[in-house]
């Protein structure tokens, strides 16, 4: 009787997925807390690499005071935002994407395919990387410091817009990474490709105005790395035009849809591992 009403069905479905996700969180917390030192060490590693990116910008701006129209603290803000988006992506999705090739190689995917839930949902969200939330806070701190240096006081609308655009950025990272991870259905040695994605993060934190020609077009319209963090920061530092906003949102939808097609085509090829 309660299945007759579509909105009620949607509601109970959402509640069910929410409860599954809560259980996955509980598991992840338990797992992380059993290796506390390791958990803290990884936070240190990420902080160190973040500091490294910032010092690189520090060195660049010893020798110039602008890259395109981007000033030093605007670029610091960009690096902060890029790190924030990357860490949120990492918190929810990264380990799961890199684990996909392992699931395929060992045939453990069988088990997940049999569960009465959407397979992409479990595969994508099985583990949560809690350390990444701590590092996201660090990134936020750097952004706020940079905003003070710039005497920026963003309006409520700007902050909200920034957050929405960040989510679009996370969605792009996730979709592309998941698409790459799906290649492991075709070749077992896909891990190298998945880690190669790390190189793309490095483009996301560079000011878009430095780039020209084919490179810029490719990383805007094919792999939209130059939009992911540049557009949200542009909104905050008043370098904004509506064109960018629509471009980022549209690209995030396109990436997600493409990754869904890729995923479906890949799962069809799945033949399990001989056990």
């Amino acid at each position: 009787m309660n299945n007759s009403n579509p909105s009620r069905r949607l509601y109970s479905g959402a509640r069910r997925y929410f409860r599954i996700y809560a259980a996955l969180w509980k598991n992840s917390v338990a797992r992380e807390m059993s290796f506390k030192t390791n958990f803290l060490m990884w936070i240190v590693v990420e902080l160190l690499w973040f500091g490294l990116q910032l010092s690189f910008i520090g060195v660049l701006y010893l020798h110039t005071d602008h890259i395109g129209t981007w000033t030093k603290w605007q670029v610091v803000m960009l690096i902060g935002a890029s790190h924030l988006i990357q860490q949120i992506f990492q918190a929810f999705f990264l380990i799961n994407c890199t684990n996909l090739s392992e699931l395929v190689r060992t045939g453990k995917l069988d088990f997940l395919l049999l569960l009465p839930v959407n397979t992409r949902f479990v595969v994508s969200l099985r583990q949560v990387d809690l350390g990444a939330f701590v590092n996201a806070l660090g990134a936020l701190g750097v952004m706020i410091y940079a905003a003070c240096q710039l005497n920026l006081v963003p309006t409520f609308l700007q902050v909200m817009g920034f957050l929405v655009l960040c989510l679009a950025g996370v969605l792009i990272h996730y979709s592309l990474m998941f698409l790459l991870a799906s290649i492991s259905f075709w070749t077992v040695r896909a891990q190298g490709i998945v880690w190669g994605y790390y190189n793309l993060f490095q483009i996301a934190r560079m000011p878009d105005e430095a780039f020209r020609g084919l490179f810029k077009a490719f990383f805007t319209f094919a792999i939209p790395m130059l939009l992911v963090s540049n557009v949200p920061v542009r909104l905050l530092v008043n370098k904004f035009s509506v064109r960018y906003l629509f471009l980022l949102l549209a690209m995030s939808v396109v990436c997600f849809v493409v990754s869904e097609f890729g995923w479906r085509a890949s799962v069809k090829r799945y033949t399990s591992a001989s056990s």
């Binding site: 990884w42 590693v45 060195v59 560079m206």
Partner: protein, 268 residues
Amino acid sequence: MKKYWHVINVGIQNNLTYRFNFLARTLFGLIPLVAILYVWQAIYFGKSQGSEVGTYTLPQMISYYLIVTIVDALTAVNEDDWQIAADIKDGNISQFLLKPIDYLIYRLCLFLSGRITYLAVAAIPLALFILVLRQYLVLPPDWPTVGLFLVSVLLTALLQFFTSYAMALLAFWVLEVSTFIFILFAFEYIASGHMFPLDILPNRLAQALFFTPFPYQMYFPVGIYMGKISGPALARGLLVQAGWVAAAYILARFMWHRGIRKYSAVGG
């Protein structure tokens, strides 16, 4: 001696199965490189014509990164440290304690075969990339410099290998060495001149860095190639570099010696 030839041989064959990974790594690695070159270009374009950053003109700056990429392909430790740590953790090294094979030399042979295979795969994309940018490529001042550059590259490779080896041996004492490896790698990445030439730093800072082994893991050979380091400074630098290699070698041997005493062959 013959047995180690076999190790190299088998190592090359093993590594060849990863040729697709190597190719992906090379190609993906070129993307951030191109990005950094664009950023430098934007910085130079924002200045007046023909101006310099530190002592570098734009072509010299681009050459610096190209040579870094080549030296990196020749000397970087790839999976060796992870494999050594895994060998210790899984108890695989027990067999080396019984066989008349020295584990350090065995790993050095595998490192060598890894580099040979990597170069074989990476050579074509790298050569194409440099060909495209050839108008920016600055050549070394003379032939003796090329020779000294190669000597320094060899020392860099040994230094990289011995430090990574020593780092991986931490697996005798701690369960998870990957965080240590990443922390060392972070310092190496910035302080060795991987991200930018060290002589564009404020003078004091650059001088302080030269008291650490890091510049000898990248900046030093590239500096020789670029003609930034020459004469007595070059001779002194090569000696210091050789000294660091010796120190890292002794540290590696010492750690192995101590580690073996603690080793209990879990699951071996």
